[in-house]
């Protein structure tokens, strides 16, 4: 019984490129028509826009005036024009509470700095 011969397919010059070329009419040719630079710029633009929105929504606001400057007899501290707008206040939604439950409301202020009329 003769041993089974192993047939090796020799790689010919250009074999791989021929194989690649066989797929080209599908995916590659399709991609060849896409303006990749434009896609890249649009993606970068969207990312920057989203990052900017995320920063604006951060619920922390800077105070321009140093706390100690509030004691100046002549100057009235002002807020930065870039101060993010606080979110609109919505009335509390009535949530059903189980029997025996209690709902506490705490209204709270702080750091009023003697201000009697913020907008006056």
């Amino acid at each position: 019984m003769q041993p089974a011969t192993v047939r090796r397919r020799a790689l010919r010059p250009g074999h791989l490129s021929q194989s690649f070329e066989r797929r080209r009419p599908g995916f590659t040719r399709l991609c060849a028509g896409i303006p990749w630079a434009v896609v890249l710029y649009v993606t970068l633009g969207c990312a920057l826009l989203l990052a900017a929105c995320g920063t604006a929504l951060t619920p922390t606001i800077p105070l321009v005036a140093d706390p100690t400057s509030a004691f100046s007899a002549t100057a009235t501290p002002t807020l930065a024009s870039a101060t993010p707008e606080p979110t609109a206040t919505e009335p509390p939604t009535a949530t059903p509470t189980p029997e025996g439950a209690v709902t506490l409301v705490i209204l709270h202020t702080t750091d009023v700095f003697g201000q009697m009329d913020p907008c006056g």
Partner: protein
């Protein structure tokens, strides 16, 4: 504050259950003419609005502990700090209060930031003890007496979170000093932490529901911008106008109708 009074009245009318009105401190002095009035205008306004308690922040010490104690004597609500002492070792204010509200027993402890010791001209007159150790002792003593324990704190948000981490048994920390606008309460273990704004432009509203075992069912924090959509409360507006007449602004801002200065 006239708009704030309007909002507070609306909330009192709309709320069925217990409602507390608290201030976390640094409230009495700062803008004109609070210093000229030695803080009287703020105490008078807070009395009219029906505040339940206030903590001492460093700005409340701006004219010294003696003036603060005079204002406290005029206040219809407790002004609290468990860790604020004179340099002779006397407590400047009460440490805590217990409020009964709609069948609930609520304990409130006040805390002042250690940075108050650096206030020029005042630091030598006061000693501020460590807030965490002070709170630990206060909570231990007060917790068995109350249904709900609130710390009214002016130590700042990060320190409040560290406090909640270090001391068990605090239900809510109502804070200040960091001038944060919060869209929702912070939660550290079983402690809710809130604070809202500065300079009287905002007021916070924490709505928290507990079940029969005092476990938190829900908690929401609303940031209320006291914009012109809130009308001035007539009583507070009259008060404000009287103060403005008594202590006219030293530097009135020019208006568009004023002629330009000669020369």
């Amino acid at each position: 504050m006239a708009r704030r009074a309007t909002f507070i009245k609306q909330e009192r009318a709309a709320t069925q259950g217990p409602l507390l009105l608290l201030d976390a401190g640094s409230t009495l002095f700062g803008y004109w003419p609070s210093i000229e009035s030695e803080g009287r205008i703020l105490i008078e306004a807070m009395n009219a609005m029906g505040y339940d308690a206030m903590a001492v922040g460093e700005y409340d010490l701006y004219l010294g502990p003696d003036i603060l104690q005079r204002r406290i004597a005029e206040a219809a609500f407790p002004v609290l700090s468990a860790n604020l002492y004179t340099s002779e070792g006397q407590a400047v204010t009460g440490s805590h209060t217990i409020i009964e509200r709609n069948g609930m027993t609520i304990g409130i402890i006040g805390l002042t930031e250690p940075e108050a010791e650096a206030l020029p001209g005042v630091g030598a007159l006061i000693t501020v003890h460590d807030p965490v150790e002070t709170a630990r002792m206060q909570v231990e003593a007060l917790r068995p007496q109350v249904d709900l324990l609130i710390v009214l704190s002016h130590v700042g948000l990060e320190a409040d979170m560290a406090l909640a981490e270090a001391v068990d048994g605090i239900d809510i920390i109502v804070g200040g000093r960091s001038r944060r606008l919060m869209q929702m309460p912070e939660r550290v273990n079983d402690t809710l932490i809130v604070q809202q704004g500065y300079a009287g432009e905002w007021i916070g509203r924490l709505t928290v529901s507990y079940d029969a075992d005092w476990q938190i069912v829900s908690a929401t924090e609303d940031l209320v911008d006291l914009d012109p959509s809130f009308e001035d409360d007539p009583e507070l507006k009259a008060m404000r106008d009287a103060w403005a007449q008594r202590w006219p602004s030293p530097t009135p801002l020019p208006t568009a109708t004023e002629p330009p200065p000669a020369g």
